[in-house]
Amino acid sequence: MGQPIPSPEIRELAKRLVAHESARPHPSNGEAQTVSGLPDRLSLPNLSVAEKLRRPLSTLAGVSGFRALVSRALTLAKAQRPELSIVQVKPDGSLDIISATPGRPPNGTGDRTSGDRTAGDSEAVEVLVTELLWLLVALIGEPFVVILLRDEWPDFAVPETESRSESVQ
């Protein structure tokens, strides 16, 4: 039996959600954002999607519950996007960026221009968010996930719940 993979609808939802967050003005800086108070060495944008989900999911499942979820999602995402290897999960479930050794960028990010890296990082985060949403859908069901998303992003158009068939690799 193959491992279920995220449906195209979930991928699209994650992509839109990341884009939606990117378009929002962030108080800390411009394009690059700070997660959990980290300085602006953070180059991965829009980890704030996971951060915003941390609050309701930690309330629902506990800090350790959310940490387990996001760790699983990150592991699945790293397998697809090695550049996410610079991301780690902190004890409170928030995401952190491991500092790259000077002169030696993290795996998968070394040969790219700044513009490439931004686009690539954005896609990597989309993969992470996709895996997180897909994991939630698999565990608690799509209607519940939609409710969570609507509560956190009232100004974001979350599609109506509908049956989304699972793809199997």
Partner: protein, 489 residues
């Protein structure tokens, strides 16, 4: 203080079919309750049913989870039940995990967090699941625990919340436990494996402010959640045998009616005993058919054959049950799961009575009924049968039960269940060997409150049904089954 000035305690629906009756009308509003039992016995499901039955946006429910079943898994499984209304999530029902709070800040932190959430949300319902994990945390600090429970009870009552604390407790823990002392209601759920069946029962050990039905009540967990079966089926208030009907019902065989002094008194319980093939089911079908012809709806509870077969067999004797089934005047209930309780069976029958307005009930047969029960309930079969017959006849239902007898050629048995005392009237059917033929005889053994024929009469089963013949005057010792001709030895 006059009765009018007494505080009125509202009763909230539990959302569990049958449980409101057991509780005496519902769960007292603002009560502080413990829901206890072993793992897997349905505590969380019961709490969810209550939550989803009562939570509103104005009076939401807060469901606190602590160490124990992971909240996501709980939600994953609980949403499979039909009562789980996804549209109520977050606006009416909120789930909050306190595991970290307990680990980091202990009981004080739990109380602070619950207080904060309650003050912010003003919930009508609060559930803490599992409270036992909170208690274990403080096992070594009894006084701290007592203060915590006391404060929690005060807080939630003051904030007008109806509360359930859920925990895995052993029965031995009931005594001297401060949690149980503070609680207004103490609900205990049990489950036990009896041979290959699971038997689930609940008991209301304590309920302040109103009378509940004492004793153990069976319950079942289905896709709809818990369904409880009160030992009295909520019939207590209706049961009064003071006024009995004087009406007499036809059995459907005029000659037999005559033998019984006109028929069966309404509200009686009639037992037809006989071995296989003696026509017990046919006589039962005549009884139902006679009622249908007079516009009296009926119910047949069958355990040994499918309703369709039962109806089909009746038609082969010219008895049309099918039309009555189609018109809704007759329900043929098939009850054959092998782990039924008598209370579940009664509930099914009682529901059918309410639906059809039935006045006649056939239970065909008691042996099949007993076989359909979980082994654990068979031990109580006689007592349960008594409750069932008593409750239904008190409602004016006339019951005809069949019971299969092993044929003895030395004595005349009426029942293998020693239940003849439960029945008002007994008919005995049996085989006799006469002149090289296996023939059938019938006798009225007992009729409470009236005379009956003392004749032993032959009968035949024909395409027209049950045909009663003449008294067999020329034989002695008919009840032995091997009668010699009268006057011969």
């Amino acid at each position: 203080m006059t009765p009018q000035e007494k505080v009125k305690i509202n009763k909230l629906p539990t959302g569990v079919p049958g449980l409101d009756d057991i509780l005496g009308g519902g769960l007292p509003e603002y009560s502080f309750n413990i829901l206890a039992g072993s793992p897997g016995c349905g505590k969380t499901t019961l709490a969810h049913q209550f939550v989803f039955a009562n939570a509103t946006p104005e009076h939401p429910a807060i469901y606190f989870t602590v160490l124990g079943e992971p909240a996501l898994k709980m939600l994953r499984y609980q949403q499979q039940y039909s009562f789980f209304d996804l549209s109520k999530l977050n606006n009416c029902v909120r789930f909050i995990n306190l595991s970290q709070v307990l680990v980091e800040r202990g009981l004080k932190g739990i109380l602070e967090e619950i207080t904060r959430e309650v003050e912010a949300t003003n919930p009508g319902i609060v559930v803490v699941d599992s409270f036992r994990t909170v208690v274990r945390h403080a096992d070594q600090k009894e006084m701290e625990m007592q203060v915590f429970v006391q404060n929690l009870g005060l807080l939630l009552t003051s904030w007008q919340a109806t509360t359930f604390l859920i925990g895995e407790y052993a029965e031995s823990e009931v005594r001297d436990n401060p949690v149980f002392t503070v609680a207004d209601g103490l609900f205990w759920l049990y489950q036990a494996v009896e041979r290959n069946s699971v038997v689930r029962k609940m008991q209301i050990l304590k309920l302040r402010g109103q009378g509940s039905v004492p004793g153990l009540h069976t319950f079942r967990i289905t896709d709809s959640g818990l369904q409880a079966f009160s030992r009295t089926l909520g019939l207590s208030e209706h049961i009064s045998r003071n006024v009995r009907s004087t009406k007499v019902l036809s059995v459907g065989v005029p000659e037999l009616d005559a033998m019984m002094g006109g028929g069966i008194p309404e509200g009686d319980s009639l037992l037809i005993a006989g071995s296989s093939g003696t026509g017990k089911s046919l006589l039962a079908t005549h009884f139902i058919d006679a009622g249908l012809r007079l516009g009296e709806p009926g119910i047949i509870a069958v355990f040994e054959e499918r309703p369709e077969e039962y109806v089909e067999r009746a038609s082969s004797f010219g008895l049309d049950l099918r039309t009555a089934v189609e018109l809704g005047n007759l329900q043929v209930i098939y009850l054959r799961p092998l782990d039924l309780s008598v209370d579940e069976t009664m509930q099914a029958i009682f529901d059918a009575i309410k639906t059809t307005g039935a006045k006649r009930l056939v239970i065909d047969s008691l042996a099949g009924f007993e076989m359909a029960l979980s082994p654990g309930f068979r031990a109580d079969f006689r007592e349960s049968l008594y409750r069932m017959i008593y409750s239904l006849t008190a409602l004016g239902i006339t019951i005809l039960s069949t019971v299969e007898m092993e044929e003895s050629f030395t004595e005349l048995l009426f029942s293998t269940y020693s239940i003849s005392f439960l029945t008002d009237d007994i008919l005995r059917l049996r085989y006799v060997e006469i002149e090289g033929q296996l023939r059938r005889i019938l006798m009225v053994v007992k009729k409470r409150g009236g005379n009956h024929s003392k004749d032993i009469r032959e009968y035949e089963i024909t395409s027209r049904g049950f045909v009663l013949g003449q008294r067999l005057e020329n034989y002695d010792g008919l009840i032995t089954g091997i009668p010699p001709r009268a006057g011969t030895k």
